[in-house]
C-alpha cells in the first residue's frame, strides 16, 4: 500500500481517534440521567425533531447526492453524514441562537440512542444504489459488488457510545472535571479539524484541487438545507420560536466525530475511505461556518422575542409565579404571546 494514497497518516489517524474519544467523552460529561427522563416529558417536540433529523436530513442528503450526481463514495459519505445523530456542538449554537437548550439536549440524547437502529435502516434504504456503482477488488483481483458493512457500522456506533457513558459517569462524580472535559472537547474538536484540513491541504494539494466542485457544494449545502427544512418543518408543526431554533440547528448540525469513527472502523478500502473521510472533513469544517452565520442571524432576528421572554421570566422569578407582566399594547408580537402565558 503506497502511503501517499492514504489521506490520513498514522499520526492523523491517531489524532482523529483521540479526538473522537475526547469529544464523545465531553458530550457524555454534559449529560445526566435526567436528560433522558426529560425526553419523555417533551415527546411531542422531540418527535418533531426526530422526524426532521431522521426523516428529512437523510432525504436531503440523498436528493443532493442524486441531483448533483456525486461520485458514489462521496454520495455514500453524504448520506452517512445525513443520517448521523446530533452532537453537543448544536447545544452550544442553540444557546447562542437563543433557542431552547433543554430541547437541544433532549434531541441530542434521543437521537444518539435512536441512531443505533435508525442509521443501519436508513443506510439500507438510501445507499444501495450508490454502492452498486462501486467495484471492489479483493486480494485475488476479483471484482465484487460493494456492500454497506451494516454490522460494522452498528459496532462502531456502540464503540463510540463507550466514551459517552464514561463522560456521564465522570459527571456523576465530579462536576468540575466534567465541565472541564466539556470545554476541552470543544477546543480539541476545533484544533483537530483545523489540523486535518491544513495537513490534507498541504499533503494532498493536487487531490484537493482535483476534487469535484460538486462535492464542495454538497458539503456546504447539506447543513444549510438542514437548517432551512428543520426551521420550516418545526414552524409548520406549530413549535414556538425557541423550539424552532433548537430543532433547526439540531437538524443541520450532525455529530461529525461519529462519521469519522464509522468510516475509519467500517470501511477498509483505502480509496473509498479517503473519499468518504474528505467529505466528512469538508462537512465538519463548513458546518461550523454556516452554523455560526445562521446563529448570528437567528440571534439578531430573535432579539426582541428573547428580550420580552427573558424579562417576563425574571419578573416571574422575582415577583412570584402569579405575577403577570402587562406590556403596553404593541410590544409583544403575536407569535410569542402564547409562550408568555404558558411556559
Amino acid at each position: 500500500m503506497n502511503s501517499d494514497q492514504v489521506l490520513l497518516h498514522g499520526l492523523d489517524q491517531a489524532l482523529l481517534a483521540l479526538m473522537i474519544i475526547v469529544i464523545m467523552f465531553g458530550m457524555g460529561a454534559g449529560l445526566t440521567v435526567d436528560d433522558f427522563r426529560t425526553v419523555a416529558r417533551r415527546w411531542r417536540l422531540v418527535a418533531i425533531g426526530f422526524a426532521s433529523q431522521f426523516g428529512f436530513m437523510p432525504l436531503i442528503a440523498f436528493t443532493l447526492a442524486t441531483l448533483l450526481n456525486l461520485p458514489p463514495a462521496y454520495a455514500i459519505a453524504l448520506v452517512l453524514v445525513g443520517t448521523l445523530p446530533g452532537g453537543s456542538t448544536s447545544n452550544m449554537f442553540t444557546y447562542f441562537a437563543r433557542g431552547s437548550v433543554a430541547l437541544s439536549i433532549s434531541m441530542t440524547t434521543a437521537s444518539t440512542l435512536a441512531a443505533l437502529i435508525m442509521m443501519p435502516i436508513l443506510l439500507q434504504i438510501y445507499t444501495p444504489g450508490f454502492a452498486r456503482e462501486i467495484a471492489v477488488y479483493d486480494a485475488d483481483g476479483m471484482a465484487h459488488e460493494f456492500v454497506i458493512p451494516t454490522v460494522n457500522i452498528v459496532v462502531s456506533l456502540l464503540l463510540v457510545l463507550v466514551p459517552v457513558a464514561g463522560g456521564m459517569t465522570l459527571r456523576r462524580f465530579s462536576r468540575g472535571w466534567a465541565k472541564s472535559a466539556e470545554d476541552t472537547a470543544g477546543f480539541m474538536a476545533m484544533i483537530v479539524i483545523i489540523f486535518l484540513v491544513a495537513s490534507t491541504l498541504i499533503r494532498h494539494f493536487p487531490q484537493v484541487i482535483g476534487t469535484d466542485i460538486k462535492v464542495y457544494a454538497a458539503a456546504i449545502t447539506l447543513g444549510m438545507f438542514g437548517f432551512l427544512i428543520g426551521y420550516v418543518g418545526a414552524r409548520i408543526f406549530g413549535a414556538s420560536p425557541i423550539h424552532q431554533r433548537a430543532i433547526s440547528l439540531e437538524t443541520g448540525i450532525q455529530n461529525g466525530p461519529i462519521a469519522f469513527a464509522i468510516i475509519l472502523l467500517s470501511f477498509s478500502d483505502v480509496a473509498l475511505q479517503n473519499q468518504m473521510l474528505w467529505m466528512a472533513i469538508l462537512y465538519s469544517m463548513f458546518i461550523v461556518i454556516t452554523a455560526s452565520i445562521f446563529t448570528l442571524w437567528l440571534r439578531r432576528h430573535g432579539q426582541r422575542d428573547w428580550a420580552i421572554t427573558e424579562n417576563t421570566l425574571v419578573h416571574r422569578r422575582l415577583f412570584g409565579e402569579e405575577y403577570v407582566t402587562q406590556y403596553p399594547a404593541g410590544i409583544v408580537p403575536k407569535r410569542i404571546e402564547h409562550n408568555l402565558t404558558q411556559e
Binding site: 447562542f96 428580550a307 424579562n311 422575582l318 415577583f319 407582566t325 402587562q326 403596553p328 404593541g330 410590544i331
Partner: protein, 691 residues
C-alpha cells in the same frame, strides 16, 4: 508645556470615511446597535417638567414595574409606574396640605429605598424642590444644608435619622413638618408617616381633583427640580441648583436607548446626581430598576440578570475582583482555558480598535504605513476569528454569566475608571461606556458611544453641548467644538469648559461662587484638564482646581491641610495627591537643613530620601500634626507618603505667588505616584490622577 502637540483633524478625516475592505468586516461584526427601543419615545422626551414626565410614564407604561426592592434573594417587591404616580399624586396633595408651596425646597435624608422614589415623585408633582442627601451625611453638613436651604418640610428615613434630626433641630427655626419613610419600628408623636401624608392628600384630591394637575401646568422648565449639596470635608457644602430643563435635556441627549424589556441593577446612592439622572432616564424608557447592595451584588446579578447598569468605578472594581476570584478558584483546566481565551480576545479586540480607529494614540502619518497596518490587523482578525469564536462562546460567555449574562452595555461614571479594569471588561466582552460629568452639569457631558469606544477617553461630547479647551495660564481658547476655526485644534491640553442645556443655574445663594465657575455667556469651568483625541473623544488628564475628589466621592480641599503640614519641622514642602483614590497621599520634599542640624551627615536630598529613617521621621511628624488636639480632626489622614529630592520651584511646580500647581506635580511625578498607588491600593491597579 500646554501646547505639546497639535494635530489637524482634516488630515485624518478623508481616510476614516474611505470604504475599505475592513468596513465590510465592521458591518458584519458590529452592525446593529446593542439596544433598541420598541416604543415611540417622542411624547415622553418632550415633557416640559418632571411632573409631566412622571404622568406620561404612568400613562405609557401603566402596570409595568418601575422599581423593585429586594426582600430575599428571589422575592422582590415591584411597584408599577401607575402605582408610583397615583401614590406620588396623593403624597403631593398631602405636601400641599401641610403647606408646601411651589418652589419650596423639601429635605430628603434617606438611602436607597422605594419610598425615596415615592417622596421624589410627590415632591415633583407638588412643584417643590427635592433637597436630598444620604444618611451618611455628617451632622455639621446636615445642619448647614437645612439651615442654608431654609427647609420647612423634611423627609427622613427611619428612627435613627429622626433622633439626629431632633438633636440638630435647634439650628433650624424654619422646620415645621417631618415625615418618616420607614415606619416598621413605629413612629413618634408629631411625625407624619408617608401613609398619613397620602391619606391627607387623598381626601384633598376628593374635594379638588385638579389641584395637582394645576401645579404640573404651572411649573416651567426653568424652575428648580433639585438642590444637590455637594459634600466637602473642608469647604462648606455648595447647593447645586438644577432645573427641570437641565435633567430633561439629559434624557434627550444621553446617547443611549433602552426599552421596557430592560432591567437595570442599581447600586449608587440614589441622591447622587448620576443615579438621579439615570433613574429618570430609565423611567422614561419604561425600564425597571432593581436596587441592590455591594453585599448582595453577586446573587442579585444572577437573579435579576440585568441588561444594563450604570454605576461608579467602585462597582466595576468589585465585580472584577469577584470574577477574578471565581477564576482563581476554578478548575485548573478551566483556568488555563480562560487565560487562552483572554489572550486571544485581547489580540482580537486590539485589532478591532485599530480597524475602527479607536486607538488612543493617533496612527502613523504615512498613508501607506497606515494602510499596511490595517491590512495586518485585518489578517490577524481573520486568523484568530475561528479560535476566538470558540473561546468567546465556550469560555468568555461563562465569565459573562457571572454578571448575569444579559448585559448589553454598562455606563461608568462618577470617577475615573481604571484603565486595567476598563480593558478587562472589553476583553471579556462587556461594553463599559465611560462617561464624564459633574453634579453641576446634571451630570453627563460626554460618554463613549458604540461607534466610538475609545478606551482611556470618556467618548465624544453629547449633543447640544459645546466644549472648549482653555489654556491653563493665559486663558486662550485652544479648542472649541463650536468655532470652526478652532474645532480642529485637537491634542492640546487645557481646562475643559462646557456650555449646554445641562449646566446648572448656579450655587444656591452663593452668587460669588457661581460667578467663579459660570461665565456670563454660560460657559462652565469644570476644573478638569483634558484634551480632544484624534478621533474626536474627550480625554481627561487631571485636575487644575485644587479640590481632590476621592473614589468614595469625598471632596477634599488640600490647601489648608498642606498649609498646616508645611509647619512640620522636617518638611520643606509637600503636595497632597489622591484624585480618584481611596485614600489621601502626599509627596514630600524633606528639609535638608533641618536634618543636617539634627546631626545627620548628609549632603544632598538624593541621599536623604533613600533613608527609611527619614521617611519614618517625616511620616510620624505628619501623623502627630494631624492628630494634634488643636486640629479640628475632620481631615482625612494621609495614608502614605513618598519623598522627592527636587524642591518645588516658582515657574515650575509653583506659580509666581508660590501657589502649588498640583497638575504639574502630578504629571512630573506620575511614575512615583503610580507605584505608590499600586503598593497601597493593589486591588484597584489603576492609573490615576494624571491619566
Amino acid at each position: 508645556m500646554a501646547s505639546s502637540r497639535s494635530l489637524s483633524l482634516t488630515r485624518w478625516a478623508p481616510f476614516t470615511s474611505v470604504t475599505a475592505p475592513w468596513r465590510f468586516l465592521i458591518n458584519i461584526c458590529h452592525g446593529k446597535s446593542i439596544v433598541e427601543t420598541f416604543t415611540d419615545m417622542k411624547p415622553i422626551l418632550n415633557a416640559r417638567n418632571l411632573a409631566q414626565l412622571y404622568r406620561l410614564c404612568a400613562e405609557h407604561y401603566g402596570e409595568l414595574p418601575a422599581f423593585a426592592t429586594r426582600q430575599t434573594a428571589t422575592n422582590w417587591q415591584p411597584i408599577s409606574f401607575r402605582e408610583l404616580y397615583e401614590r406620588g399624586k396623593q403624597i403631593a396633595a398631602g405636601l400641599a396640605q401641610i403647606g408646601v408651596r411651589q418652589g419650596d425646597p423639601v429635605g430628603l435624608i434617606s438611602d436607597n429605598r422605594v419610598e425615596w422614589m415615592l417622596a421624589e415623585v410627590g415632591i415633583q408633582l407638588a412643584g417643590a424642590v427635592n433637597t436630598p442627601r444620604g444618611t451618611d451625611v455628617i451632622d455639621d453638613e446636615w445642619g448647614y444644608i437645612f439651615e442654608h436651604a431654609e427647609i420647612e418640610v423634611a423627609f427622613v428615613e427611619g428612627p435613627k435619622e429622626l433622633q439626629r434630626l431632633k438633636r440638630l433641630r435647634v439650628q433650624w427655626p424654619n422646620l415645621r413638618e417631618v415625615i418618616q419613610l420607614d415606619t416598621r419600628k413605629g413612629v413618634e408623636e408629631g411625625v407624619h408617616t408617608l401613609d398619613q401624608l397620602a391619606e391627607l392628600g387623598a381626601s384633598a384630591l376628593k374635594t379638588n381633583p385638579q389641584c395637582i394637575q394645576e401645579r404640573e401646568q404651572s411649573v416651567s422648565g426653568d424652575d428648580l427640580f433639585t438642590l444637590i449639596y455637594t459634600s466637602g470635608t473642608t469647604g462648606k457644602p455648595k447647593g447645586v441648583m438644577l432645573t427641570h430643563e437641565n435633567i430633561l435635556s439629559q434624557i434627550k441627549n444621553v446617547p443611549l436607548e433602552l426599552s421596557c424589556t430592560d432591567r437595570v441593577l442599581s447600586i449608587l446612592p440614589i441622591w447622587h446626581v448620576f443615579e438621579r439622572m439615570f433613574e429618570v432616564f430609565t423611567m422614561s424608557y419604561g425600564v425597571c430598576t432593581y436596587y441592590t447592595s455591594l453585599r448582595t451584588l453577586g446573587q442579585d446579578l444572577q437573579n435579576v440578570e440585568p441588561t444594563f447598569m450604570g454605576s461608579a468605578p467602585r462597582l466595576w472594581e468589585s465585580l472584577h475582583h469577584r470574577i477574578m476570584q471565581g477564576i482563581g478558584q476554578a478548575h485548573p483546566v478551566r483556568r488555563a482555558l480562560f487565560h487562552i481565551a483572554y489572550r486571544l480576545s485581547s489580540w482580537y479586540q486590539h485589532s478591532w480598535t485599530v480597524l475602527r480607529n479607536e486607538t488612543l494614540e493617533p496612527p502613523p502619518r504615512s498613508l501607506i504605513v497606515r494602510l499596511a497596518w490595517k491590512m495586518v490587523h485585518s489578517g490577524r482578525i481573520c486568523l484568530i476569528l475561528p479560535l476566538y469564536g470558540f473561546f468567546n462562546a465556550a469560555v468568555l460567555e461563562n465569565v459573562r454569566l457571572k454578571a448575569g449574562g444579559c448585559l448589553k452595555a454598562t455606563i461608568s461614571g462618577g470617577g475615573a475608571l481604571p484603565m486595567a479594569i476598563d480593558q478587562f471588561y472589553r476583553k471579556i466582552g462587556i461594553h463599559v461606556l465611560e462617561g464624564y460629568g459633574l453634579t453641576e452639569t446634571s451630570p453627563v457631558l460626554a460618554v463613549r458611544i458604540q461607534s466610538k469606544e475609545v478606551a482611556g477617553t470618556v467618548g465624544p461630547i453629547i449633543p447640544e453641548t459645546e466644549l472648549r479647551i482653555v489654556h491653563l495660564e493665559t486663558d486662550e481658547i485652544l479648542y472649541s467644538s463650536s468655532q470652526s476655526a478652532l474645532s480642529q485644534e485637537i491634542g492640546l491640553r487645557g481646562e475643559i469648559q462646557v456650555r449646554g442645556p445641562q449646566i446648572m443655574r448656579g450655587y444656591y445663594k452663593e452668587h460669588g461662587l457661581t460667578r467663579e465657575v459660570l461665565s456670563e455667556d454660560g460657559w462652565f469651568r469644570t476644573g478638569d484638564i483634558g484634551m480632544v483625541t484624534w478621533n474626536g473623544c474627550l480625554r481627561i488628564l487631571g485636575r487644575c482646581k485644587s479640590t481632590i475628589v476621592l473614589s468614595n466621592g469625598e471632596n477634599i480641599e488640600p490647601e489648608p491641610i498642606e498649609a498646616r503640614l508645611r509647619q512640620c519641622a522636617h518638611i520643606e514642602n509637600l503636595a497632597l495627591m489622591g484624585q480618584d483614590c481611596k485614600h489621601l497621599y502626599a509627596l514630600v520634599v524633606p528639609d535638608l537643613e533641618q536634618f543636617q542640624q539634627d546631626g545627620r551627615e548628609v549632603k544632598t536630598r538624593e541621599e536623604l530620601i533613600t533613608d527609611p529613617e527619614v521617611h519614618q521621621t517625616i511620616f510620624r511628624e505628619i501623623r502627630e500634626m494631624q492628630h494634634h488636639p488643636s486640629d479640628s480632626g475632620k481631615h482625612p489622614s494621609i495614608r502614605a507618603i513618598r519623598l522627592i529630592a527636587e524642591p518645588f520651584t516658582p515657574g515650575e511646580e509653583l506659580t509666581n505667588l508660590f501657589k502649588l500647581k498640583r497638575h504639574v506635580v502630578a504629571q512630573k511625578y506620575d511614575d512615583v505616584l503610580q507605584s505608590l498607588y499600586a503598593a497601597e491600593e493593589p486591588d484597584s491597579s489603576r492609573s490615576r490622577g494624571h491619566r
